[in-house]
C-alpha cells in the first residue's frame, strides 16, 4: 500500500498533467462534486442577479 501511494505521489509531483487527468476522471466519474457544486453555486448566483436586476428595473420605472 505504501509503495502504491508513494508511486502515485511521485507521479503527481513529477507531472502536473497527472493531477489534471485525475481531476478529469473524478469529475467524469462523479467521485467528486467540485464541478457540480460550482454549477449549483453559479446557477444560484445567476438567479440572484436576475432577481435583483428585475426588482431594480421595475422600481426604477416607478421612480
Amino acid at each position: 500500500m505504501e509503495l502504491a501511494l508513494a508511486i502515485l505521489n511521485l507521479l503527481n509531483v513529477a507531472s502536473p498533467g497527472i493531477a489534471q487527468l485525475v481531476l478529469l476522471v473524478k469529475q467524469k466519474d462523479g467521485t467528486i462534486g467540485v464541478v457540480q457544486m460550482l454549477d449549483q453555486a453559479d446557477a444560484q448566483f445567476d438567479a440572484n442577479m436576475k432577481q435583483a436586476s428585475d426588482w431594480l428595473a421595475e422600481h426604477a420605472k416607478k421612480a
Binding site: A4, N9, P16, A19, V22, V34, A41, N48
Partner: protein
C-alpha cells in the same frame, strides 16, 4: 497482484489534493443560497411595505456585489487544480471583495430596518454569508491543512 491492479484506479482517484477545492466550492453554494434568501426575504418584505425602497435597493446592491464576486470565485476554482500558492493568491483576490461587501461597517444601514422580523432575516443571511466566506479564507490561508 490482481488486487493491486484493481486498487490502482481507486488510489489514483484519492491521491489528488483537490479536497480543499471541494470544501471551497461547497462553501460557495452556501454563500449563494444565503444571499438568495436575503434577496427573497427583502423583496417579499418590500412588497408587504415592511421595508422601504431605499433600504431594499441598498440590500440588493450589496447582494449584487457578492453575486458578481461569487461568480468570479467559482470561475477561479474551475481554472485551478489544487490550492498551491499561486492559486491561493488568485482566490484571495476575488474573495476579498465579498468580505468587504459584507463587512459590518458596509451593511450598517440594515439597522434602519424597522420591521424586526425582516431585520433579523437580513442580518442572519448576511451573517451566514460572511462567516462562510471567513471559513473559505481560513481554508485558503491554511493552504488546505485544516
Amino acid at each position: 497482484m490482481k488486487k493491486w491492479i484493481l486498487m490502482l484506479p481507486i488510489l489514483f482517484l484519492t491521491a489528488c489534493s483537490d479536497g480543499d477545492l471541494a470544501k471551497v466550492a461547497k462553501q460557495m453554494v452556501v454563500v449563494s443560497q444565503a444571499i438568495g434568501q436575503v434577496q427573497t426575504d427583502t423583496i417579499a418584505a418590500n412588497k408587504l411595505g415592511l421595508i422601504d425602497e431605499n433600504l431594499t435597493a441598498n440590500i440588493l446592491t450589496v447582494c449584487f456585489k457578492v453575486n458578481v464576486a461569487g461568480k468570479q470565485v467559482d470561475s477561479v476554482i474551475r481554472s485551478i487544480q489544487k490550492l498551491d500558492p499561486a492559486s491561493r493568491l488568485q482566490l484571495v483576490n476575488v474573495i476579498t471583495p465579498i468580505s468587504q461587501a459584507l463587512d459590518p461597517t458596509q451593511i450598517s444601514f440594515i439597522a434602519g430596518i424597522k420591521n424586526a422580523d425582516t431585520k433579523q432575516k437580513v442580518e442572519a443571511g448576511f451573517l451566514l454569508a460572511r462567516s462562510t466566506i471567513s471559513a473559505v479564507q481560513l481554508i485558503i490561508a491554511s493552504g488546505g491543512n485544516n
